[in-house]
């Protein structure tokens, strides 16, 4: 441990801790706009300056040392910080009132904290156009403060390399290579850039108006579904603690917004497990394109199509759960409810920006004869709709989802967290192979935030090697090992691999709330503590669930008996499976 003094307060922290982090342990908040625990400090914003022995240093990236004496807030530092912030503000529009990030913006917050009440510096704001070509995320260069978090995340954490710097100096811009629009770049729409942006420069593509239009058209029967991860995050927007599971309140809010039926993507997660576990058992026993990758993360699917086209056959052919639900709603449910399928509109509330892109991925996304899912809004957008509708979410009474596309098992709910899909699939695969239920339903080895989690599962003598990749940026070594084994004709290192593109899984997806709890340390948005709390919210629901097995979901059983036939059968295949194709990294 290292001992030092910050503003004359004795501090003891681990070596290599930054001065900024050390200060937080003694309740001193040094302002910063670029440091974020998920990435190395870029030292770009210049706000976190402190004095060490009279010398001005950046506290975000200067490690503590024994006996160091730090001053964080004298008059000179305050004055310089204010001037730096004014400079940053001179390069940022005064659009706060019209900005989707208003009230949840780090720049706005710091400006208020530092008490900037006038700015004599002339405005120089970029006139570069917005890039909304992906239909999932929107880049607004005029609001960018070039903190570099998004580029760092996109390149070094996610290993996607869609975002990059263009030019230098005052005209530096963050964009695709050579100013390529994001839709023509390797972007997989994971939205981690959105999750880490300190301002309104990167936001989700807004679909709330289109959802309102669907709801306002009285000819429509607009149904809604919520993804697993939404229930443990939405509450943050309304003052609940991180990880609070508010499923019942969300159902109630959705009804008040005017949705005809409230379904749950968790139902479809169970359905996915039936299809995916059957597919795995079949492929595993026939040694057909093993290892098999999960395919419920559209960003991951996009990544394979762009970066690993030689491995397309390793992807499970299952659609993601919300696509399955959309297809079922417009066929089975419409039939059952006796409504005109063409009038049924499906809206998905997702923790994810890539889902906005996924609904138009290819023609298999229209398997019901219509667009299976009509609109996707993120958790954040749902919060906005609830607020705009004047709903007092905090005090809403809990309600239930509508039957039958609302029933779900504990296995379905953990789809939203890294390791969850694998856990759910193994529970059912075990049953399919052995005809017996697993004794212990959790696999600790594949839970948590480790980059790659591997385990060997003994299914009555058959060893199944599994891996769970947490964050798409960690997939390269796994792919390398797989493809090496393939080229050498040797045994694959794994049989079944789950990949979720966002670190932590969907609970930390690009569409999740970016707020700060009153009791929570900065920075805003996302960090590992938040990831753990949201994960816990989902795992708790699984543990407490009456049924924790997808194959015991009665509504699912009935769906197969009444409509689909058998898992992987012709009808199931048509409605619930997709195919993949190579996509160019760049389009001209």
């Amino acid at each position: 441990m290292v001992k030092l003094k910050i503003d004359n307060i004795e501090v003891e922290v681990a070596p290599d801790t930054s001065i900024l982090d050390a200060a937080r342990t003694v309740q001193i908040n040094i302002p910063t706009l670029c440091k974020h625990p998920d990435v190395d400090p870029s030292a770009g914003c210049g706000m976190c300056i402190v004095k060490v022995g009279g010398r001005i240093m950046r506290s975000c990236c200067t490690p503590v040392s024994e006996g160091m004496e730090v001053i964080t807030n004298d008059e000179e530092l305050k004055e310089i910080r204010k001037m730096v912030l004014k400079l940053i503000l001179s390069n940022h529009p005064n659009d706060c009132l019209n900005c989707s990030r208003s009230n949840q913006c780090e720049l706005q917050d710091i400006t208020a904290e530092l008490g900037i009440d006038q700015n004599e510096i002339v405005k120089l704001v970029s006139q570069e156009p917005k890039d909304d070509t992906t239909g999932a995320i929107v880049l607004d260069p005029s609001k960018c403060i070039v903190c570099g978090r998004c580029v760092n995340i996109c390149q070094n954490v996610q290993n996607v390399w869609a975002l990059s710097y263009l030019r230098r100096g005052f005209v530096t811009k963050i964009t695709g290579a050579n100013d390529t629009k994001l839709a023509n770049s390797p972007c997989i729409k994971c939205g981690q850039c959105v999750a880490h942006c300190p301002t309104g420069a990167i936001t989700d593509y807004d679909n709330t108006r289109r959802v309102s239009a669907l709801l306002n058209n009285k000819k429509n029967i607009t149904v809604v579904q919520i993804a697993p991860a939404v229930r443990v995050a939405l509450g943050e927007e309304f003052g609940f603690d991180f990880g609070s599971n508010l499923t019942g309140k969300i159902y109630a809010a959705l009804r008040r917004l005017g949705f005809a039926k409230v379904f749950d993507t968790n139902f479809a997660a169970d359905l996915t497990i039936i299809e995916e576990a059957s597919e795995f058992v079949e492929r595993f026993t026939k040694n057909d394109n093993i290892p098999m990758f999960t395919s419920c993360c559209p960003a991951w699917v996009d990544y394979v199509e762009k970066y690993y086209p030689e491995n397309l056959a390793n992807l499970s052919s299952c659609k993601s759960p919300h696509q399955m639900l959309g297809a079922i709603a417009k066929t089975y449910w419409a039939e059952k409810a006796g409504v005109d399928a063409s009038k049924v509109k499906v809206v998905s509330v997702m923790p994810c920006t890539a889902k906005k892109w996924e609904i138009g991925r290819d023609e298999t996304m229209n398997s019901s004869g219509y667009k299976d899912v009509d609109e996707v809004i993120t958790t954040r957008e749902l919060a906005k709709m609830i607020k705009a509708a004047g709903i007092d979410f905090k005090h809403l009474k809990e309600e239930e989802a509508d039957s039958p596309l609302g029933e779900y098992s504990g296995a379905g709910t953990i789809f939203g967290v890294t390791g969850g899909v694998m856990t759910a699939a193994l529970r059912t695969a075990y049953f399919y192979i052995t005809g017996e239920e697993l004794g212990k339903l959790n696999f600790e080895a594949i839970e948590g935030l480790k980059a790659v989690k591997a385990a060997e599962i003994d299914i009555k003598g058959t060893k199944v090697r599994i891996a769970v990749v947490n964050g798409v940026g960690n997939v390269a070594p796994v792919m390398e090992a797989i493809n090496k084994a393939k080229s050498e004709g040797s045994e694959p290192p794994y049989h079944f691999i789950e990949v979720m593109a966002c670190p932590g899984g969907c609970i930390a997806g690009g569409g999740q709330p970016r707020v700060m709890g009153a009791t929570f340390d900065k920075p805003w948005g996302i960090n590992n503590e938040i990831r753990k709390l949201r994960s816990k919210g989902l795992y708790n629901e699984d543990v407490e669930a009456q049924n924790r097995l997808s194959h015991k979901n009665e509504s699912i059983k009935k769906l197969y008996a009444d409509y689909l036939g058998k898992a992987g059968g012709e009808k199931a295949h048509h409605l619930l499976h997709t195919k993949y194709r190579e996509r160019d990294l760049y389009k001209k």
Binding site: Q155, W161, A162, L163, S164, Y165, L166, R167, R168, G176, A177, N178, S185, P186, L585, Y586, K588
Partner: protein, 159 residues
Amino acid sequence: MDRETCLGCQTGDKWRKKRGSLIMALHEIQGVKGYVGWQDAMDLAKTMNVPLARVYEVLTFYNFFKLVTPGKAVISVCTGTACFLKGNDKVLEKFKSELGIKEGESTPDGLFHLQVVRCVGCCGLAPVCVVNGKTYGRMTPEQVPVILNEWREAFKKEA
């Protein structure tokens, strides 16, 4: 594209195994073509196993690299301190008015590209201009049309 004629691939192959070679490879491509085009960058990125985003981050950071073909004659007007003090700004103005372009642009006929550079290291000869590697020292605005004609004549002869 045929690998034999693919400049990006050939250059990439040459530099791939060496360390710290992206900028060197880009220099080499520009040395051959006068600029680094989209296809060259794509080929190089692929061959060297470097993300294209990185290639363009580098290309657009450094002043030396050109993304589109410059004119046949690249006129570099030195704006180093010595040249500034000795009035090269007037020479630059003369080039601009004679050619009808701004710095960083090429004439529509593709003959001339005008750029400003920071010190070519001939401060003793200030003010200085360089045209395709040929240095003109102790420049005056009056010399500008003379130099332009000299190059126009040279191009005519070539043709």
